[in-house]
């Protein structure tokens, strides 16, 4: 057995239940809230919300790899860093517009992720975790490397300017950045939904649950696994580029292993192999450490650690599955009562 998702999903599938699904009503409500509420908030909160959306994209990316395809990565911070540096270098050294950095970061991370995925193919389970963990630890040093200092700015990093709202819109730069990020988040989620609900999504899940049977049915394991790595890196890279624009600054020490682990925490807490999980996970990663540190006085690492272990013991499939199962139970109980 490779994956904790398998056992639970099979149990649900036997009841004709394929897991948490997007709900039209809930989606419209969520979108309405996301569009209206920011107008009632102040500048700093816009940044917090934007950063949360950025996490959501990164977490979605890792979830495609780990949740749907069963490959473990402890080093996605590396792709986040590549995305962030792509954006910063394009804006600072080449004076390119900020929006053009998003597709570029995505494309670069897609190719880097694909190339890293090729050897990673041969590594199952522990070994892949080990190799990606090594990547996460090595990233800050690599970014400080003197040979690329003229591009990366070495230890100092790169400062970038906040983009102004276009078309003479009368909103603040922060609010514009929020809506820009929101639009990209929606695009990325819709793309992921379309990618995962059809043939390709089924192939990914088949590879996760029954690799040998999947191969026997004609799924090109090598191709799919490397491509999934690439697509997952693309998502995280896009998130990295957005994150750099939001924070207006990149430096090697922002991309420690802790970043990679935060993305993993988001996936685990939100819910493996679900789209909505990325949102719950992002909310957790954005708010839990602050709340813990300011209100309770516990360092974020301890909170993350307790939640990781606690979730593995109590609800290994995360919040999204928990809500899904609870809803099903409630709904199926009601007709019996009336």
């Amino acid at each position: 057995m490779m994956n904790p998702i398998k056992a639970a999903t099979e149990k649900s599938a036997a009841r004709g239940d394929t897991g948490p699904k997007p709900h039209a009503g809930a989606l419209i409500a969520l979108l309405a809230i996301a569009c209206v509420v920011p107008f009632f908030l102040k500048g700093y909160h816009h940044l917090v919300l934007t950063q949360m959306l950025v996490y959501a994209i990164a977490i979605l990316g890792l979830n495609i790899l780990t949740g749907y395809n069963g490959q473990i990565s402890l080093g996605h911070g590396a792709f986040y860093a590549i995305g962030a540096y792509t954006a910063a270098i394009m804006m600072d050294k080449f004076n390119l517009p900020y929006w053009s950095t998003i597709p570029a970061a995505g494309a670069i991370c897609l190719s880097v992720g694909f190339l890293f995925g090729l050897p990673a193919l041969r590594l199952a389970g522990h070994y892949l975790a080990l190799a990606t963990f090594a990547l996460a630890v090595a990233v800050p040093q690599l970014l400080k490397y003197k040979g690329i200092e003229q591009w990366t700015g070495g230890v100092q990093g790169i400062n970038i300017l906040k983009p102004d709202p276009p078309f003479g819109l009368k909103i603040t730069a922060d609010l514009w950045l929020y809506f820009f990020t929101l639009a990209i988040t929606i695009i990325m989620f819709v793309l992921a939904y379309n990618l995962l609900r059809g043939r390709i999504g089924r192939a990914l899940v088949a590879i996760r649950d029954q690799p040998i049977a999947a191969e026997a049915m004609g799924i090109n394991l090598a191709m799919y696994k490397s491509l999934t790595f690439g697509v997952s890196a693309l998502y995280t890279g896009v998130a990295g580029a957005l994150g750099a624009i939001v924070i207006q600054y990149v430096a090697p020490d922002s991309f420690t292993p802790f970043l990679s682990i935060s993305i993993l925490v988001g996936v685990v807490v939100g819910g493996l192999a679900t789209l909505s999980g990325a949102l719950y996970g992002a909310a957790f990663v954005q708010f839990a450490p602050n709340i813990a540190e300011k209100v309770v006085g516990i360092p974020p690492q301890i909170v993350y650690g307790l939640f990781l272990i606690g979730f593995m013991y109590i609800m290994p499939l995360g919040v999204a599955w928990f809500i899904h199962v609870a809803r099903r139970k409630l709904l199926s109980r009601q007709p019996a009562k009336s």
Binding site: P4, L130, A131, F133, A138, L264, I302, Y304, G305, M312
Partner: protein
């Protein structure tokens, strides 16, 4: 030539530390087929305990001994309380629990002892012996003593035999009356104790802080893979090889600021071209 010799010798000294941590990793891997990502943080935490005792006035070697014993018990407790419930779980679950443990230990150390670097004393003479400093020579000796004690324990004592049996064939061991669960806990205890020794040796060289072991752990991973992750003696040889390679590459090829990348390249290189390592068993999966 002199620098070259010096680089090799100090590589052997750090290599011994990597060898110990790699040995601890292999010990847990052999018994449970899990790679303990929290090994480094466990060692780091033990080293803080030692520093607390030394600062409280306990003589170095007494603090050393006490730390080893406390770490041994702590390792057993971690196995019993945190790892046991997920022992039979899928790989992903176990790795996530290890990462959780790593975060908790790191956060606790930062919380209690802060994130500032702290110097850690060395019990060995300051002066250097030829091409090698007193501490380097001392830590090579300590590593060799620890490794030979382990060898004697596993080779010549009934308990060592029982532990090897439990790791290699749990079902049959259970049938001949070995308490396999207890052996696993003992293995964790030993791994934690060896890690504690390595932590105390390395802390004098790189200073003590909560993130001290992340680099060391990376080299230990590389060492374990070079030697073959299922072979303890391979891990030892791997440790010395990696230590020397790190120093030579750091001095002659990439420069000190890219040393961690050397570990990354070794890890990925071994996994790609010789996944079984130098002395490991080649795994064949039956389809």
């Amino acid at each position: 030539m002199e620098t070259f010799l010096h680089q090799i010798l100090s590589g052997l000294a750090t290599g011994g530390i990597y060898a110990s941590v790699a040995m601890a990793l292999v010990m847990i891997y052999q018994a449970t087929h899990h790679i303990n990502f929290a090994q480094g943080e466990m060692a780091m935490f033990s080293t803080y305990l030692a520093l607390t005792m030394i600062n409280a006035g306990v003589p170095y070697w007494a603090a050393f001994g006490l730390t080893v014993i406390i770490s041994f018990l702590g390792g057993m407790a971690i196995e019993r309380v945190i790892i046991r419930p997920v022992e039979k779980s899928p790989v992903l679950t176990v790795i996530i629990v290890f990462i959780g443990l790593l975060l908790i230990l790191n956060g606790l150390a930062g919380w209690i002892y802060t994130y500032t670097n702290k110097p850690f004393p060395s019990p060995f003479p300051e002066r250097s012996f030829g091409y090698i400093s007193g501490h380097e020579l001392g830590s090579i000796v300590v590593t060799l003593v620890v490794l030979s004690l382990l060898y004697l324990f596993f080779r010549f004592t009934p308990l060592g035999l029982a532990m090897r049996g439990a790791a290699q064939n749990p079902e049959s061991s259970r049938l001949v009356g070995i308490r396999v669960g207890r052996m696993l806990a003992l293995g964790w205890g030993l791994a934690a104790a060896i890690g504690a020794v390595a932590g105390m040796m390395v802390a004098h060289i790189i200073f003590l802080d909560p993130n001290m072991m992340s680099g060391v752990l990376l080299y230990a991973f590389a060492a374990a893979l070079v030697g073959g992750i299922d072979n303890p003696w391979g891990a030892m040889v791997g440790g010395f090889i990696v230590g020397v390679l790190e120093n030579l590459a750091g001095h002659y090829i990439v420069g000190p600021e890219l040393k961690l990348t050397v570990a990354l390249v070794i890890i990925i290189g071994v996994l790609l071209f010789k996944p079984a390592g130098l002395f490991g068993k080649v795994l064949v999966t039956r389809v």
